[in-house]
Symmetry: C2
């Protein structure tokens, strides 16, 4: 987690967006980048600030969130290592409409707008990858609006557990484990629930033997049963 020995071009090459770029191109892009170390709680950007770059998280965790006038916070997205954020905000020439904050000590790579615009001018395939990336993000937001408006809290929790469980090791026999990446309160906000209600929902699912709660590890005991419990409730 040291900024000095971090090889920017090598990291860029691992990103889907920058595949196919030659070594020279990668180095040129790296020129327009900036590496930042963040401590837990550090702000990456704030609502209203001008936006001249997008960000790729190398290590750690970052949350994107909105704040209500009253100060209440709604998590829009939890960013994991290897993922980027705020690409879209860069292209509208408008200030940030969200806040971003590190949830743990993190390493962040910020890519300046100019090098992206250059690359778009140089390679149409790059444009298409950029468009595809932003479109995928847009897909995700539409999905969130749908589930927010059409599903109950219970259904959103179940949907979250079932969507995330794929990632985890499926070799533990019949029991899948979802490790919550962050605090329960933060996951709750991501799902538009209060921490209290999220807790109640999880414990209801445990009481009917569909999951087992072990700190932040949720053991999914009965996957099909969990899916069924969603539609009826």
């Amino acid at each position: 987690m040291d900024t000095s020995d971090f090889n920017i071009p090598r990291f860029l090459a691992t990103q889907a967006l920058f595949t196919d770029l030659s070594t020279e191109e990668l180095e040129r892009v790296a020129e327009g980048c900036q590496v930042r170390r963040l401590a837990r709680g550090d702000t990456v950007f704030r609502y209203g600030e001008p936006c001249r770059e997008f960000h790729v998280l190398v290590l750690g965790q970052v949350k994107l969130f909105a704040l209500s006038p009253a100060g209440q916070e709604k998590v829009i997205e939890l960013v994991q290592p290897g993922h980027s954020f705020a690409e879209a905000l860069m292209f509208t020439d408008k200030p940030y409409i969200l806040n971003a904050q590190a949830l743990t000590n993190s390493l962040l790579l910020s890519v300046g707008k100019q090098v992206i615009v250059n690359e778009i001018g140089r390679d149409p395939r790059f444009s298409l990858r950029m468009l595809a990336g932003i479109s995928r993000r847009l897909h995700g937001l539409v999905h969130d609006i749908e589930t927010g408006a059409l599903h109950t809290g219970m259904q959103r929790v179940i949907g979250y557990l079932l969507r995330e469980h794929q990632v985890e090791d499926c070799s533990t026999g019949e029991v899948y484990i979802v490790s919550l990446p962050v605090s329960k309160a933060t996951v709750a906000s991501r799902l538009s629930l209060t921490p209290e209600y999220f807790s109640k929902v999880l414990h209801e699912l445990e009481s009917v033997n569909l999951i087992r709660i072990d700190k932040r590890d949720i053991h999914i005991v009965d996957v099909p049963g969990l899916a069924r419990y969603g539609v009826q409730t």
Copy 2:
């Protein structure tokens, strides 16, 4: 509203996305387009169908909506003439994740994916306009998620009225008129409210003399008062 005498290149030229294109380019793009007349209730596309084009509404009204398993519907967006939709879905090579249906008799221009990809290869400025357009859409969705999670029904209604009122003629002295573009039930769904509750909220606002309801015309009697009523309630 006849398809035969509709000049595609001329219409394309009025779209922000296609500004700067030469007459020949516009004609080439027009080759990849298709004009469709739609009757009220006609489906433009359905969830799950493959997506090989995006759409520009020339005349009429179209709603984009999600359907819950139970058949309940949530309006994601109300499309007005001159506006486009489903650009983003085109770039992910995934099927439509929404449904689109005409609310009134409409005239629709569908632009094939191939001509867009061609244009991206030809002109980086076109890529940037495309990116800016999709990014703006993404902005809107983030805004919807925010207000959906952080604001009450009353606040969403007030926000809607205040955002829309700008468009209307501001010359009627001190009274602004917002004409609901579609049925109250549809606007309600757009705002994630039941028709019943939307009605109650509007009539509450009328009872405290902040608005006057005249069919689909909402006269905003007291703009600052309305804005204030939102924050306190």
